[in-house]
């Protein structure tokens, strides 16, 4: 990110493609996209070594807007795609991105199991507490009394999903929250997240002015966590439970071995097809 570009270091905008986002002007997702490109630049990653994988939703449109390898998959299945990719190609930097509906509603199971599996990849959820793409229905993170959706006229009527707490309980080793109003801070967190050896989860609060104009207020409410990141899940969980969901920063950065196909030391006798065939000989 120096002013003089070297051959290896690309400027953030070189991580953007020439596809113009269809996002509404004012959408928080722009800031997350920008932060992502800044983080890739700061990390000095060659674009071809990075893959951004997503599901379906406004936020999930992000891969096409980057100049790295992209995968715009199915609603809710981004983490599964990312998992397969990372296991098959551990050399790549895999960033999975999407929305709160994609990740916590239909994709909730993969979220749980990705946290547990602790593969070395990063998951960024642009949380606007709404289904933007399908015209403003309540998502798992929507407030119980948000009554703007015709589908839930009286509001969803239940406690919002708490992504960071659940990530910790499910075994994520890196958990952070940030806000699209602070893109450079997102970039910083993303750099840490990508560097973290294991599964890193970043909840990026990212307003949807179209369906949730009230989220304009967020900028007045967010504030940094009042403590440094901990490496103790129990402590992280305590902090998160005491929080109103609007504190930002890295909460947890713990070490735990990442899952690998051969973990536990499988005793693979045959290492060639011929050897395997020999076992079948009658």
């Amino acid at each position: 990110m120096s002013t003089v570009e070297t051959a290896i270091t690309l400027a953030p905008k070189q991580y953007k493609s020439d596809v113009k986002p269809v996002w509404c002007p004012g959408c928080g997702h722009f800031a997350v996209l920008n932060a992502m490109t800044k983080a890739f630049s700061a990390l000095g990653l060659p674009p071809e070594q990075v893959a951004v994988v997503s599901g379906i939703g406004c936020s999930s449109r992000v891969p096409a807007y980057t100049s790295v390898y992209g995968f715009h998959g199915l609603h809710g299945r981004a983490l599964a795609v990312g998992t397969g990719l990372k296991v098959a190609r551990p050399d790549l930097t895999v960033v999975v991105a999407g929305g709160d509906g994609d990740g916590f509603s239909i994709g909730g199971n993969h979220f749980l199991h990705a946290c547990r599996r602790n593969l070395d990849m990063t998951y960024v959820v642009m949380d606007n507490e709404v289904y933007g793409m399908t015209k403003g229905q309540a998502s798992p993170t929507t407030a119980a009394d948000w009554s703007a959706s015709k589908l839930t006229p009286g509001g969803p009527g239940m406690r919002p999903f708490q992504p960071a707490s659940i990530a910790v309980a499910a075994g994520a080793t890196f958990v952070a929250r940030c806000f699209s109003g602070q893109p450079n801070e997102i970039a910083r967190v993303l750099v840490e997240a990508v560097r973290h050896p294991g599964f890193s989860f970043v909840q990026a609060l990212s307003p949807c002015p179209t369906f949730c104009p009230e989220q304009k207020e967020w900028k007045h409410v967010v504030r940094p966590f009042d403590a440094e990141p901990t490496d103790d899940p129990a402590e992280a969980s305590r902090r998160l439970q005491a929080d109103d969901g609007m504190s930002t920063g890295i909460v947890l950065a713990a070490r735990r071995p990442s899952w690998a196909p051969s973990s536990g030391g499988a005793s693979a006798s045959a290492t060639t097809i011929e050897a395997i065939e020999a076992e079948i000989e009658a």
Partner: protein
């Protein structure tokens, strides 16, 4: 002397039926025979009633026979459950220990000859040897297998259990051999040159696993399900050995999408499942179609609908495999034509998926997957084409643009200058989402045509025999059909057997407007369709996609009982008289 011999062993929990069956098969193999072994069991996890159903022969056998020549009951626990599965005729022998009680009505009613085999007495006399080994020993002796082979097999199978168990088993086999009832005198099979080279013993599930590895699969993500789990269990350590990986996924939605991620990453990928799991994968398969991502799903079919009959075979996932994806979603559907062919067909499926950048579903079933056969080493074809990979550093890489064969070059992440986004929305040639009718029509047509126009070579349709009567079938029922046709031919009647190994694209290989299948039926006037389904799924597939001769009959019967060769001959009915 008979050229094949069919033996059923039954018994309840702990009787060791399966192990005895395995000893019999292995020993017969060492003696140079071919054979197959199928297992059937009750709903209990352990200790339930089970049956080992064997057929041994001087030539390879691909299906069970119409009836069993011998039934050996180690005990009579819940035998009614198997009464249907073990047809007997007047010449069949029923061997059982009188001390286990009289032959139950369900068996007695079949009118076979009852022969006393005093298992308990022989076992006790042999210092409490296991009764199942007594039975195995007796049968092997009756067949004419050298004791040496029998003991070698027992050692191979039970060796790890250690000394005592092993010696007791050998004692049992010897006691059995010494006590063969006189009525068993003519069970012997023709003598063979023993231990021929290149003979393989494997189940269809193992064969499919081998085909996957031969095809280059190095990533598998899957969720356990009967009767596919063994395929995965066989693959797990071997994949690791070959430097690949198997991920046990949280569910089938995850497994198919993990496979898509790995395949997008350039690694040939496969998953295996059964009906309920396949139902959960169709959305992912649709993405593989739209995004043109190679992937193979082996569906080891079981009785449906819903959870159905998980342990029994049926051919009723044909509908969902062919038509279960939403939208116009052309893809590949293949079916092995025998247990051993699971290897070739799966290998070929990997090859086709990779070459054509499309998902391929391989329809195996419980009867193929869980039957163990002794057979010739299956073909290992060295296919030349593979995934077409984009060359690096292109000025304007267009992922979804293709030349004449409709196949676009697919960039492998890590390659500089060819970054792109794989896309499940309709898109233009670059992959940018588009709802234009032109882009839609062109991509739809290309995705269809690349499959239809590919040259699938000689493997797409199995054709045997000629004549103007044909039996058209697919998958696991091929065994019985081929045997029925062979019997017809032995009676001097020409019968053609036509079985598509490649079910979709259905209209591949068109010449002058005739599909490969239609051409295989050239000159045929009468078609008997044989399938194991109640709703005639295969028959409807044939009608929908192909022009059939005017005279069509259909033998469509649901599982779980296998379709037998004579049942096929009976369905030919008066056509067989011509």
């Amino acid at each position: 002397m008979r050229s094949t011999l069919s033996i059923a062993l039954t018994g309840s929990g702990g009787a060791g039926v399966v192990t005895a069956g395995r000893v019999l098969l292995d020993a017969a193999t060492r003696a140079g025979w071919y054979g197959l072994l199928r297992r059937s069991s009750g709903p209990q996890i352990r200790g339930g009633e089970s049956a080992a159903l064997l057929r041994l022969g001087a030539h390879p056998v691909d299906c069970l026979d119409d009836h069993f020549d011998v039934l050996v009951a180690l005990d009579w626990g819940n035998i009614e459950r198997f009464a249907d599965e073990i047809p007997l005729v007047a010449t069949s022998l029923v061997l059982s220990d009188p001390s286990a009680g009289a032959v139950p009505a369900a068996i007695a009613a079949k009118g076979a000859q009852h022969v006393a085999l005093p298992l308990r007495e022989l076992a006790t006399a042999a210092e409490r040897a296991p009764e199942n080994m007594v039975a195995a020993g007796a049968l092997c002796a009756a067949l004419g297998v050298d004791a040496e082979h029998v003991e070698a097999c027992i050692e191979a199978l039970l060796g790890r259990k250690g000394g005592d168990a092993l010696t007791a088993a050998v004692r049992g086999a010897r006691a059995g051999a010494a006590g063969v009832p006189a009525a068993c005198a003519d069970l012997a099979l023709p003598a063979m040159a023993t231990r021929p080279a290149h003979r393989w013993a494997l189940s269809g599930n193992e064969a499919a696993g081998l085909g996957a590895l031969r095809g280059g699969v190095r990533f598998v993500a899957a969720y356990p399900i009967t009767p596919a789990s063994e395929l995965l269990e066989w693959l797990a350590p071997r994949l690791t050995g070959l430097g690949g990986a198997l991920v046990q996924a949280e569910d089938e939605l995850a497994s198919i999408n993990m496979c898509l991620g790995a395949s997008y990453g350039g690694v040939p990928s496969l998953t295996a499942t059964s009906g309920p799991g396949l139902a959960l994968m169709t959305e992912g398969l649709g993405l593989a179609v739209a995004g043109e991502i190679p992937v193979v799903v082996v569906d080891v079919m079981r009785g449906g609908p819903s959870t159905g009959i998980p342990t029994k075979s049926e051919q009723t996932d044909l509908d969902i495999a062919l038509n279960g994806l939403h939208g116009d979603a052309p893809h590949l559907v293949l079916a092995p034509v025998s247990v051993a062919d699971c290897a070739f067909t799966t290998q070929w499926a990997v090859h086709l998926a990779e070459t054509l950048q499309a998902p391929a579903i391989v329809l195996s079933d419980q009867a193929l997957g869980q039957t163990r056969v002794v057979t010739e080493r299956p073909a290992d074809v060295a296919f030349l084409t593979r995934r077409r990979v984009a060359s690096p550093d292109q000025a304007e890489y267009r992922r979804y643009a293709a030349g004449g064969d409709g196949i676009a070059a697919m960039a492998v992440p890590g390659t500089p200058g060819t970054t792109y986004t794989a896309e499940g929305l309709e898109h233009d040639e670059r992959g940018t989402p588009s709802s234009s009718s032109g882009h839609h029509a062109r991509q739809l047509a290309r995705r269809t045509d690349k499959l239809d126009r590919h040259d699938y070579g000689p493997w797409a349709t199995l054709v045997e025999g000629d004549g103007d009567t044909a039996i058209v079938t697919w998958g696991s029922t091929c065994g019985a059909v081929r045997e029925a046709a062979a019997r017809e031919r032995a009676r001097g009647r020409a019968v053609r057997v036509v079985a598509p190994r490649l079910l979709a694209p259905a209209r591949h290989g068109e010449v002058d407007g005739a599909s490969a299948l239609e051409r295989a039926l050239d000159g045929v006037e009468r078609v008997l369709v044989v399938e194991q389904s109640h709703s005639r799924q295969f028959h409807r597939y044939l009608r929908a996609w192909h022009d059939l001769p005017r005279q069509v009959r259909c033998l469509a019967r649901p599982g779980p009982l296998p379709i037998a060769p004579e049942e096929v001959r009976a369905a030919l009915g008066d056509w067989s008289q011509r």
